[in-house]
Symmetry: C2
Subunit: 136 residues, 2 copies
């Protein structure tokens, strides 16, 4: 998916450059906060990845993460499992304590809503060699 | 929005006729469960309303509800407040204990993802006179 098409189909908004988490992402991502309310025990944000961009391996402790894919094509992988290709309408459930990463495919912008509870632990980057061979 | 356009833009799926909750909805709605997992303390579902369809007034106790509008035009109203028109990309936060209803506009199909925690208490239907004058 091109940037132009992504802008048209990114239902929950691009938001701002994701500076706060930049050190945990390879290349540029964008974050649009949707629900951040002290009476609600989950955070809801729309995350957009430029082509080739993905986050580091990470774990949600005392919580979970739910991804609702809204635009573009991406990848999701849990440690010890093969990577899963993602398209709009797909839903991902990451349980407490599960090491995983997610991001765009090499040639596509990618957006998902993330519903997140608990405390993230950020780990190492996804290997470039591993990422580059996905989908080949 | 017509039914044909709704089918094309209903990102998270129509699902099945919403028989379980039919007595709390005026006319036909559809429910597509997205996350219903005993390790996750929220339920995530895509709800689709035919034109004119809305649910009864209701309250989420010991929880909350978050709506992410994906397709069509709808209404959301909390008791004591005016009704808010909803369009794709809109987000609604309903706090614990707040009496509210939501549904389609008279002439449009409408879909939202609902992220729900707690126990619902279903109350009276939205008055037909009130609903019919919305947006006029």
């Amino acid at each position: 998916m091109t940037q132009d098409n992504q802008n048209k189909t990114n239902l929950f908004g691009l938001g701002n450059k994701n500076e706060a988490f930049a050190k945990y992402f390879m290349c540029q991502s964008y974050l649009n906060g949707l629900v951040n309310d002290n009476q609600i025990d989950v955070n809801v944000s729309n995350v957009t990845f430029e082509p080739g961009c993905r986050n580091n391996w990470h774990i949600h402790h005392q919580g979970y993460q739910l991804l609702l894919v809204t635009s573009g094509e991406g990848w999701y992988q849990e440690e010890g499992h093969s990577a899963r290709a993602l398209k709009p309408g797909d839903v991902v459930v990451t349980h407490d304590g599960v090491k995983h990463w997610h991001g765009a495919q090499k040639d596509s912008w990618f957006s998902h809503v993330a519903i997140t509870k608990g405390t993230p632990e950020w780990l190492e980057a996804v290997s470039e060699d591993w990422y580059q061979q996905l989908g080949e």
